[in-house]
């Protein structure tokens, strides 16, 4: 019985933590239009904080991250599309500001080398097995 209670309690606790992902957006930054706010949050999640570097600006408390969050919301209000906003940011900070590197000629290796390595690994495994089967 105690065990059961413990498990239930722990799972609720874990689940709660899972839902309660931290973000840095301050109340006065939030837009009135809910759809626009969701768009702003989505863009912010894909934009790197240049100071903390492994956080998105959605999670970072750095002043520059806040400035960029406010700026993104301003651009949305002006009626800019998501692509226009990403372009605006990469024009100034380069592709590095995007947490996911774009698929370009120069990033082909980055995107496809893992699959090539996987294929090589599978081939090696396959031929290795064949050899031992014969023995």
């Amino acid at each position: 019985m105690i065990n059961k209670i413990f498990v239930t309690f722990m799972s609720i606790f874990l689940f709660y933590n899972f839902l309660n992902i931290s973000y840095a957006v301050e109340p006065n930054e939030i837009m009135e239009n809910k759809n626009n706010e969701i768009r702003a949050r989505n863009i912010s999640k894909n934009v790197r904080c240049m100071i903390c570097q492994n956080q998105s600006i959605d999670e970072s408390n750095a002043p520059l991250a806040k400035d960029l969050r406010v700026l993104i919301r301003g651009e949305i209000k002006k009626g800019k599309s998501d692509d226009e906003i990403y372009n605006f940011l990469t024009k100034r900070y380069g592709d590095f500001i995007l947490l996911k590197p774009p698929l370009k000629l120069s990033t082909l290796a980055l995107w496809f080398l893992p699959f090539i390595f996987l294929a090589i690994g599978l081939l090696v495994l396959f031929f290795y097995n064949e050899k031992y089967k014969k023995v």
Partner: protein, 176 residues
Amino acid sequence: MKKQILIVPSIFFLFIISIFFYLLTIDRNPSEIPSNLINKTVPFFETETLLKNKKFISSNEFGNEIILVNFFATWCKPCREEHKYIIKLSKKNNLRIIGINYKDDPKKSIAWLKNLGNPYSDVPLDKNGRIAIDWGVYGIPETFVINSDGIIEYRHVGPITKKIYEKINLLISTLK
């Protein structure tokens, strides 16, 4: 047979190790990100200035001579440390230096420049940090070298050290 197979992975492993070793030993700062503005014209901005009673309009100022642009603030300690090099740069090359005052209190800036010396020809104010974003600035102090066509030649993030001072001097002498 087995020994032969082991040769390939060990060569591969050594290759990777040597790459790691190389990256560890060279003088490299991984937090320094190359600027996307190199070889591009200076971003347009228009703002008030600290010491003169006139507006600073970037399109009127750039494109005639080599200009150094330095983002600084009085609350930024490395800015204080690099200031002596900026003064040296302005004296040695008779260089025009524009100091963009980033998110600062004008009163403190005036006192700061009186105290440490003022190498800047103009001090445009970037009150909310919007100009810095247009320049792709992410950690002040940052310094840009702009050639006489108004094109950004070089960007340095962080304080100017002796090494960077020499690098900028060399760059300016080649641009002249």
